[in-house]
């Protein structure tokens, strides 16, 4: 039987209450949302905390997808299934549904949350790659209601490490909306619902047939969720074409840093990084045009 080490359970009744609990309990406490990353780690005693603060009751406050004129705002407690079924995201950023269809399974998706996924900061995690692709901004709230907004690059400090301090909570993800956008996600996995061998997200913004901007985010190819500025630079101002996707794929393969493990060799993962970059860019352009 796998059972976590003993801890005390607290339940937050509001975001501010959660922060006040974190202020009091500090690094000995951890927030628990869906729990589908944290509890397995605690069962294996890879993570041990004196206190767990259950924030699931805050879903009313932090579970939403809202479309604004300049950005889409998603509450950190929005569950995978809500992201998958969101009409707002289906229209603005179909990359989310692409990714959600291949994250775990429908029952797990009933529990897991966007904020939990990002805060887990697993380099193989899909939504981190999605948010990197979309140039997301993360809203972090701390004591006294003070909020700061950081980019995904700033948010994701390293494997299992984020910019969220001991007395802070990730409350919202903001996705900038620009015209002419298309986006897509693709993942190669060993079996349905597994972690990625490699996955890639792509977003393009077209104007008059030319690429105004493009972003590619990769997962599972290095210690960090990887956004690739060199691809953006290579694509800006160009007309979409197969040879351009080829070029972007080659940059992706060169830019990443995969390791050989039970999921595949480093060479195979580089091959996937190139191929999935090509596929998702192609798809993103098709969607931007439709």
């Amino acid at each position: 039987m796998q059972v976590p080490a003993p801890f005390e359970y607290e339940r937050a009744t509001s975001v501010d209450h959660a922060i006040s609990l974190l202020e009091r309990l500090g690094g000995t406490a951890r927030l628990i949302a869906g729990g589908h990353s944290l509890l397995p780690m605690m069962k294996l005693r890879l993570a041990n905390f004196d206190y767990l603060i259950d924030i699931n009751d805050l879903h009313g406050e932090l579970g939403y997808v809202e479309a604004g004129p300049d950005e889409v705002r998603i509450g950190a407690l929005t569950r995978h299934r809500e992201l998958l079924e969101s009409p707002v995201l289906a229209t603005a950023f179909p990359i989310f549904a692409d990714a959600e269809r291949v994250i775990a399974d429908p029952v797990v998706r009933n529990r897991g949350t966007l904020g939990g996924s990002l805060c887990q900061a697993d380099p193989s995690e899909d939504l981190s790659a999605v948010c990197t692709t979309l140039d997301a901004r993360c809203v972090i709230r701390g004591p006294g209601g003070a909020e700061r907004v950081v980019s995904m690059e700033e948010f994701h400090v390293g494997p299992y490490e984020t910019a969220v301090a001991d007395d802070e909570i990730l409350v919202e993800i903001r996705l900038p909306v620009r015209p002419g956008c298309g986006s897509a996600y693709a993942k190669v996995e060993r079996r349905a619902g597994d972690w990625a061998v490699v996955s890639a997200g792509a977003a393009v913004w077209l104007d008059g047939g030319a690429i105004v901007d493009a972003r590619v985010g990769l997962a599972a190819v290095g210690p960090n969720t990887t956004g690739i500025p060199a691809i953006s630079a290579a694509l800006r101002g160009r007309e979409p074409s197969e040879s351009l996707y080829e070029q972007a794929g080659a940059i992706a393969a060169d830019s990443c840093d995969p390791v050989t493990d039970q999921r595949g060799s480093a060479d195979y993962k580089r091959h996937l990084a190139a191929e999935l970059t090509r596929r998702t860019l192609r798809r993103a352009v098709e969607r931007a045009r439709s």
Partner: protein, 182 residues
């Protein structure tokens, strides 16, 4: 700590350790051993129960997290002596062999039909994709869920029809209810 939740419409209060998982609370504290305990890693899905009407893997939910919420287990599927159509479907279509995955499969299937009364085979396979049948009896599980969907549709049609001729037809063991007798 003390936890109070509603399990199969009955409110229960127990003194527990905070680290107790919902699956063990149901099985070991309440004695509801219909919910099975399998992989312990949220992969196999035999521990699926409902939390506020949504299927969840109870090996990865703390009992404390269910406090104040509604839990439904496989024991809460039947209405008295009357089996749920999902349970009837599993009987009719050989939906279980060893029976280990069955409680989780049935809870997920029931939730699926509640949201989508007429799921395709693909939709059924997607819904149970987080659950493993160690007998590999997926074909008959899918057939069982289809059986229940058709049976429920026929029962609903029967309720709305007023003439005797609308009685639902026989349902055969191959899983597809026969055409209603006109």
């Amino acid at each position: 700590m003390q936890v109070t939740m509603t399990v199969n419409d009955v409110e229960v209060t127990r003194e527990i350790e905070a680290r107790l998982l919902l699956v063990h609370f149901l099985r070991d504290v309440l004695g509801l051993t219909g919910t099975h305990w399998g992989c312990d890693t949220s992969n196999c899905g035999t521990c699926v129960v409902w939390l506020d009407g949504e299927p969840v893997k109870s090996c990865t939910v703390l009992a404390a997290m269910a406090g104040g919420h509604q839990v439904r287990t496989v024991e809460g599927l039947a209405k008295g002596a009357e089996l749920d159509p999902i349970q009837q479907g599993f009987m009719q279509c050989h939906g279980l062999q060893c029976g280990f995955c069955t409680p989780g499969m049935m809870m997920t299937a029931r939730a699926l039909l509640d949201r989508n009364p007429d799921p395709s085979e693909t939709e059924i396979r997607e819904a149970i994709s987080g659950q493993i049948c160690r007998c590999t009896g997926y074909a008959t599980i899918v057939r069982s869920v289809r059986w229940a969907a058709v049976a429920e549709a026929q029962a609903a049609a029967q309720v709305t029809e007023t003439t005797e001729s609308s009685e639902a037809g026989e349902i055969d063991n191959a899983g597809q209810p026969a055409e209603a007798v006109a």
